[in-house]
């Protein structure tokens, strides 16, 4: 997939030497998602963004994949393979379903730093903005220590 992030996500990918874990989240939506629905989704995302940015996160980058026919790896409503993946309140995704994907990249000093944020009151009080998106088929959440090529 090709994702046009608003700003270069390099700091969250590890170009910032303080980042030792990159949180990668894929949010899956139906391929038939309309621009109006997408705008509503972004309004919900924007409510969560300041909460993340106020935490120890080192860079928050997100964007929609240009493709609208990405094959979903979700299986019968199960949350994604990663740790912490959660399905939305809407219809659960099916494996092989064509999807639009919203990608979120967040840089953390460590996986523990992210877990501490997930256990925080601010996270608990605001995560409903994302989990309440009814069009969401499911999510995948992973942490990865990325290696940069060419350096």
């Amino acid at each position: 997939m090709h994702v046009p992030f608003a700003a270069s996500p390099a700091p969250a990918l590890g170009a910032n030497p303080a980042v030792h874990a990159t949180e990668v989240v894929f949010f899956y939506f139906p391929a038939t998602l309309t621009p109006a629905q997408r705008a509503d989704i972004m309004a919900s995302v924007e409510k969560m963004r300041p909460v993340i940015e106020a935490s120890d996160a080192m860079g928050v980058y997100d964007g929609w994949a240009l493709e609208d026919d990405i094959v979903s790896p979700l299986d019968g409503g199960k949350a994604g393979e990663g740790d912490g993946g959660k399905a939305g309140e809407g219809e659960e995704g099916k494996e092989g379903e064509k999807c639009q994907v919203f990608v979120n990249l967040v840089g953390w000093a460590s996986v523990d730093a992210h877990m501490r944020f997930q256990g925080s009151e601010a996270f608990g009080q605001n995560i409903h903005h994302l989990l309440g998106i009814k069009e969401m088929r499911g999510t995948e959440l992973f942490h990865v220590k990325l290696a940069r090529v060419g350096v």
């Binding site: 090709h2 992030f5 240009l66 990325l146």
Partner: protein, 227 residues
């Protein structure tokens, strides 16, 4: 306009270096601008001049460059005019150091008979991470490694293969950066990210006469071309 060259570039019998704006002004060659014209913003949020000081009672001034100092634990940053982000006089210093260690803080010392503004003019833009343009995209590919492979070590065959594959991709026109790694939660799941100038640049690469194929590291059926 006279023909006096910028004093920073005076040297015995040497050709005047017109990369210095002051020299160009004096020579009436203001229109000879370096190409590509550097952005007025820092080329990279990670590397910028963050301090220029003149040591008291010292003939030298110290220029500090390095990672973005906006992190709360870092030193205060001095904001300099945009032209101070690039260094025409550092052909022997900045590119070498930045190319090798783009995120390592560095200090250099310039002879101070020239004011810092004389030394710091745009000529050699450093763009390890260019600001996202309207068309810039990140290619994201995920796949599952075959059971016999892992990225547990940087020297593992899979790590080497992926690194070689991405290194070749970075040679393509429009490719900027590449990253890869295995997910902590599923070590056999790999993600590769490549920044491209545009989707078209990536597609041109994929349609070019030679596109290296990732050797069979993945589960059957995977092809980067389909990603």
């Amino acid at each position: 306009m006279g023909t006096r060259a910028c004093s920073a570039h005076k040297s015995k019998g040497d050709r005047v270096d017109t990369t210095c704006r002051t020299a160009r002004q004096h020579l009436g060659q203001e229109t000879l601008l370096p190409q590509p014209l550097p952005s007025p913003c820092p080329a990279s949020p990670l590397t910028a001049v963050y301090n220029v000081t003149r040591r008291p009672s010292s003939p030298f001034c110290v220029l500090s460059i390095g990672p973005n100092r906006s992190h709360k634990s870092m030193l205060p940053r001095t904001t300099l005019p945009p032209s101070h982000y690039f260094f025409p006089h550092s052909k022997t210093f900045l590119p070498r150091r930045q190319n090798k260690h783009p995120t390592v803080p560095a200090e250099t010392t310039f002879t101070p008979q020239h004011r810092p503004s004389t030394l710091l003019t745009p000529a050699l833009p450093y763009r390890p991470n260019p600001p996202a343009s309207a068309s810039m995209i990140t290619e994201i590919v995920t796949f599952t490694l075959a059971p016999s492979h892992s990225l547990s070590s940087p020297t593992s065959p899979a790590s080497k293969t992926i690194r070689e594959f991405l290194t070749a991709e970075l040679d393509a026109e429009g490719a900027h950066d590449a990253y890869f790694g295995a997910f902590d939660e599923k070590p056999d799941r790999v993600i590769m990210l490549v920044k491209w100038e545009s989707v078209e640049a990536h597609r041109r690469y994929m349609q070019s006469a030679y596109v290296p194929r990732l050797p069979p590291l993945s589960s059957p059926g995977f092809s980067p071309a389909a990603a």
